[in-house]
């Protein structure tokens, strides 16, 4: 009995050690592939920077007014953007080659690559969605904040935060959906959150603009009473007036 247990233990330990021995070269191959491709990526990035720098790529790009790309990635020049893309493509390639090598050298008989690669690509996709969503959320929230402040809206920050969270919630839901995590729960939660934010914003804008709307309605009513021309777009006119208030409130100032 004791001998049988000893044999069973020895046998299982042997199997584990053999599997580990066959696993380690594959892991090493993965690490080597990632490290080498990362080094190549750094080299490539450096070469791209130098070449594009020598060709004055940034200046040409700015001159051709194709600056939208850099507008979406503030703080980075187009050259830096291209160099970074080159670097990360190499790193991603390293991971894919490494996983493939790991799979080939793994003697366990199970094919890991067909499982890991889709997961990896989905993860990369989700990370990209999150990154893009964060950039878009920041861009839109700043746009709304600056626009609303210049229109002298008192609830500018609230509006900006609302827009930011709308985009972030949408992005998170998209990333989770892309990862196929959560299923219906994510969709339901997203619907509730999104609807909630929209409703809150609508209420805030509605309540905040109460005076504006009432003034507009009074103006329209006065116009009717006086037999003057009726403006169906009275609200729009009032909003326009508010938009131009910086200039108009300044009386006879001429900025240009």
């Amino acid at each position: 009995m004791g001998q049988q247990i000893g044999f069973a233990l020895k046998d299982s330990m042997h199997r584990v050690l053999v599997q580990l021995a066959s696993f380690l070269p594959g892991l090493l191959a993965l690490l080597v592939a990632v490290v080498v491709l990362t080094a190549i990526g750094m080299l490539l990035s450096s070469v791209i920077r130098r070449v594009l720098g020598a060709a004055k790529f940034d200046e040409r790009f700015a001159r051709s007014q194709s600056a939208d790309v850099t507008d979406w990635s503030p703080g980075h020049s187009p050259t830096a953007l291209v160099a970074r893309i080159g670097f990360w493509v190499c790193v991603l390639l390293g991971f894919m080659i490494g996983i493939s090598a790991f799979d080939a050298s793994y003697a366990g008989g199970s094919h890991i690559a067909p499982i890991l690669i889709p997961v990896l690509t989905r993860s990369v996709g989700a990370v990209l969605i999150l990154l893009a969503g964060t950039v878009v959320a920041r861009y839109l929230s700043r746009s709304v904040l600056i626009g609303a402040v210049n229109l002298q809206m008192q609830y500018a920050r609230f509006l900006s935060l609302g827009v930011k969270w709308l985009v972030l919630v949408l992005t998170t839901a998209m990333a989770l959906d892309h990862l196929q995590i959560g299923g219906v729960v994510v969709e339901l939660a997203f619907g509730i959150l999104f609807g909630g934010i929209v409703l809150t914003l609508s209420l805030a804008i509605g309540l905040g603009s109460r005076d504006l709307v009432s003034r507009s309605l009074e103006k329209t009513a006065d116009g009717r009473g006086a037999g003057g021309p009726l403006h169906d777009d009275g609200v729009v006119e009032t909003v326009r007036a508010a938009a131009g208030s910086q200039v108009k409130a300044a009386g006879n100032l001429r900025h240009f």
């Binding site: 007014q65 703080g75 861009y139 402040v149 500018a156 208030s245 100032l253 900025h255």
Partner: protein, 413 residues
Amino acid sequence: MKEEMATTSTISESDTGATPAQKSGLLVSLSAMPPEAVEATLGNLAVAFGDREVSVATPDPVGESARGNLRISSYTPVAAAPGSWVLTAADYFNAYKQMQEQGATLCLVLGPEAQTLGPEALRALVEGVTTGKADLVTPQYALGPRDGLVNAAILYPATRALFGTRARYPLAIDLAFSARMAERMATAGQRLTAANQSGAILWPVAEAAAAGYTIAEVPVGTRGLPTPDAADLNSLLAQVAGSFFADVDAKASFWQRARVAYPGRNGNGATASGQRLESVEEPEIQPMLDSFRLAYTNLHEIWSLVLPPNSLLGLKKLSLMPADAFRMPDGLWARIVYDFVLAYRLRTINRGHLLGALTPLYLAWVASHLLLTSGAGAETMAPEKHVEAVAAAFEADKPYLVARWRWPDRFNP
């Protein structure tokens, strides 16, 4: 000299077939105007240059081809001119093409509402090139103390400090220039029109300074100014300031070396803005102060990405000041503009956002300027004197811009 050679190769010397007999020397290039404005301008030109043959080119159809000393020709623009309220890339390019066709040696470009310029003003502009031997002659408009505020706040002080020129209106819409200056402007204009940006603003004073050309300025009296295309201040300021900042960025290698080469103006009121404002009403100032205070509470986070702590502290003090004591120090304003120029260059934040965040600060400067130049307090001064003080502050702070331009990360006091 190198600049001249470089520009010569860019614009092709087309054979226009103009014979010496046809050459009139002076070309007057008009912007698109209503027929009655064209008539009035032609009348003024006939009076101004009574003893001289003048070619007049206009994009508008005209009935007659000759009127006294004026030879009038209607032309189809080589580059589509969008009919802007300022002179655009297309205007300079079209003017140069007309100069080539007419064989002219100097050009007088007149912007919209040019009929309000008197004959003396027209003559003075041209004489600046012919007798003054200047390559570029800019007008010194006699604007009121409440007019041309963006020019007083940003364009004039920054141009004077960076490019070392004395032109009071860097964005003038009437200019006289020599053939080589026309060629240089056309080269810059052609680059933009080729990139489908015919409506882009060009900065002739900076171009002339960078090329080492002579710049002169002549007083032209009052002038009716055209109404800008865009109705709201935000988009206009973004358009003009964005173009100006881009030009500063493009000419960095020049202005980092340029030194102030002339004494400042005395600010005694050569322009109409030398007159003091009699009074300033609270309804006029209060919306601007409200805009600034609202922006301070909301845009502080964005400003902190662009402005150093000292400037933010200055803005905090400003936000707490009562309306009657509201004064933006000239040094603070100069530093703010320079930091925005730097942020534009470094793309610290999206450029559209950056220029949008400048508007409330500009309104704060306007409020401060109006308060300082009105009333009868001890601090009160003439508007022109204050504008000169602002320009001096820009000059004094130029080393800061140069240092941060060269070492943006290392130098941040």
